[in-house]
Symmetry: C5
Subunit: 254 residues, 5 copies
């Protein structure tokens, strides 16, 4: 019995020690590639946010909204990446729900950018704003319901893809696309088509992640995280830098 | 006896372990809909606050107060939602007192907006300011006293409703309403009526919550929280966006 | 003996549990009126600070100092109320020393406001600045020495009251008072007399608190805290709002 | 043996309780004069930093650097006082190394102010900048090496004093002093001589502290801290206020 | 057995005590030279960041980007030094991965400065931007892969050096170098050559650190840290100050 008791007390001591050990393992190992990608993306988001918020004052007044919204997108992503990174460092896991919360705020904001940069150079009807917003919500809510298991995963995927295709239609052939083409502003047309490429190619990473990570299990969680992080680097920071360059180009012109 | 002792020590170990487990459960589960709504509303409030504070510098000087106050409303709501979210994630409970503290600061600020946006376009007497402030305090203090059990719940409800009705009277038929109608500023009239709709329809959620959550117990706490969160999204963020659009419309005109 | 040992271990478990319970009681109970008043005042101070710092850029340049100082007053008060609130929630106690530290910084700043708003509209001699500063230090140091027990409580009270009376003399009949009257600026005269009322009536709460709380024990600590919090709401936030309105009135005039 | 075991367990319980007690003693006692001086100086630094950073936008462009640097000095001091205060409240001790880290950043910045305010009104050669910087580094590194025990305490003192005397020479009789006298700017000459007085009389507190605290042990650590805190109040905040007044005086002139 | 049990319990008590002791050793010892260098560099980065962000508003609009990017560099470095410092104080270790994460963001930003300051005074082709960016990524990724052990250490070193040499070629003899020489802007030419010296001499510290710290083990980790910290002081803060001076010189000219 004595041994048992000592073991029990030793167990208690062990718990205390292992708690301390745990605290130590929250540091990144130098070959922890996934952790490093989380760290890079979060710091990049922070730097981008600071940059956009500082720079917005340096463009002409009708362009500031667009640069501010670019800053909101990276800022919100920064906050979420801090959470995701913390959970990853602590548990080695990255619940998809935090990415969905992030997307539910940042993706509508990004699509609103298409409306804002058009509205900065010519009159556009506000119904376009609502159609784009609706398309992004269908894409996101469908995906979330499917991944969280509220509805069938394949059904969720189909709903989500439908929303995305509608957005692509709107910005390529719909009113938004036509308005951009008709604006006659060379810098805007270039910006618009660069942003469109990001929404087409860069965003394709999300349905692909859905297919490989949830529908077919063809990819491990770590690779998926590195890919998502890299995609967000392009889709949020590069997206914002393009909006900002367009704002600078249209501000210095006058 | 040995077994008892080992059990007692095991209990101790269990407490330690369950503390760690508790810390783990503070992460959101991907099907935790209520938690997700808390997260979305708090991040939305943060983004809205940053946006209003950045944008206030881009409207003409007599409109900045209004946009600043919109930022204060979402900012204060952000701080409180961080507290409420933290308590909810930790305990699964959401004490109503934090919502009342939030309302006691944000609702008077929102009603002052009616006065501020009128004052930005025409001369208005300051007594209107005090009448609106008084109405909002009656509405809030009545509700708080009733829900905290200092006075009879039904009595509190009646006092609260009286304050709300008085506010509705003031902004529809009272001096504030008339002043808006007489301003001859199309954008202001539209804004004023949109804000009025929010105060009428959007705010109706609060007395309904009181009735279903406290007077009749006809709704569970979780649904109530999701409804309150959604209502606050409209009543605070959309409210602020409308004020901001009005400020932008009236700034670019000159 | 077994029972004793199990009791001892149970005691240990109880400590662990009660620590958790303690952590739970740091949430506000919905009928905790004192805690709510601490919460309201600290959030109000935060909102006021953000507002004054945002708005200072919107008044003309010689008035910005005054609005900035109003923001410093509420900002410093915010920091201290966060400390006081934390201690109160944790221990149910509110050491008076934190209030004195707050007052030692904010009250001189507020009295300097009388000098600053005069200096914004006419030339005033800087000796007035030093006389007001000296009066406020006598008032505060006397009160602190008496309440901390370094000197006799009644003596401290008398020294403190002397400082206050000197300040009242200076702003009513002294040079500051005369300078305001002679300025011929209607908005300044109104502001000056509103601020004077706050210093006369609003500040009377502090010596009354001293008498009832320390000299005669005629009031319980909780009521004293609620009264102090309410007084600070008027004496700091309303004070700042009045300074800000004066700055706005004098800025838009040109 | 039972008694021994119960005692041991009670000891364990005691440790837990005393930890809680410890946590309680981190609150300031109302007669804790040293703690109060740490609190006051840190809050004063915070307020000063906010003020200088807000106000820098309100002076003319060539003076903003000077006000910004004044804000950096109090800002860096604020951060360090938060650390020092925290350590003092927790342990009753205040390691001198934190003061030296603070001084190694803030004192060169302050001496650069002499160069900056000269450069704001007339052309000065940049070699003066480097000479002043060198003098301040000799003063600080000598003092640190002596107090940390890397070199003989008296030798460190002599090196440190030499650097200080060189600085005094430069700002009184050297080029900096002559440039100020020749500037013909009355407000600058007054400012320059006020700052000189602070560097001469106010800074004398540091070698005196070195003599009494380290060379002769003629003063206890608590009094030394109160004196250092008071000295920093004058040497950093009053220093910055003087720079700011000079900037305001030279801005409104045009 | 009693002794064993008491020992076991004493061990438990010891763990608790030593945890407290640990917490105490997180304070810097006054002769801890490495810790002091971490503290100085992090506080210096903070001050530099605040300064650049405050000052960017005071230079002409086409130079603000450059000053903002200087602030981003020191800001990102500040965040990472806080992490590195915390780990060092806690464990006496400084994982190189945090330095690489910092470099992966700050070094490309610094090299972009060469493009930005050229673009502020004359038209430059954007392909230069991409070439510099590519060179910096080769330098960093090569070094990281080698140090983390993904590839052979010597191979990593060679790849890294190749990237660095390409950058040197580009800014000395390549298009960037020629563009600067042709700009005919004296202040820009001086700035450009000062920055080039930093990239040539100051950055040489990193491959040297790689050689002595990883390839030959000829230097201890503490000295390496002090050298890296000093190098970053020059390579980031002095770099930024030079960019800022150039911006000020080119702004006041007009």
């Amino acid at each position: 019995m004595k041994i048992l008791k000592i073991l029990a007390i030793a167990l208690l001591a062990l718990i205390a020690v292992s708690t301390a050990a745990n605290a130590t393992t929250t540091f990144l190992a130098s070959d922890d590639f996934v952790g490093m990608s989380f760290w890079l993306i979060s710091m990049g988001m922070l730097a981008a946010t600071a940059f956009f918020f500082m720079e917005q004052a340096n463009v002409s007044v009708q362009w500031r909204k667009s640069v501010n919204v670019a800053g909101l997108v990276t800022g919100i992503a920064f906050v979420h990446y801090m959470y995701i990174r913390g959970i990853w460092v602590e548990t080695g896991d990255t619940p998809i729900i935090y990415r969905y919360i992030d997307w539910l705020i940042t993706i509508p904001l990004q699509l609103i950018e298409f409306y804002l940069i058009l509205a900065a150079v010519r009159k556009v009807e506000s119904s376009m704003f609502w159609r784009i917003l609706l398309g992004s919500l269908i894409m996101l809510v469908g995906g979330y319901l499917g991944q969280a298991g509220f509805i069938n995963a394949t059904l969720g995927f189909i709903i989500s893809i439908t929303g995305w295709i509608y957005i692509l239609y709107e910005i390529f052939s719909g009113e938004a696309g036509k308005a951009a083409a008709k604006s006659g502003n060379k810098s805007l047309v270039m910006t618009f088509s660069a942003l469109r490429m990001i929404v087409t190619i860069g965003w394709a990473i999300y349905p692909l992640g859905y297919i490989f990570g949830y529908l077919t299990d063809g990819i491990d969680a770590n690779s998926l995280n590195v890919i998502y992080n890299l995609a967000d680097f392009v889709n949020k920071i590069a997206f914002g830098v393009i909006v900002w360059s367009c704002a600078v180009a249209n501000s210095s012109r006058r």
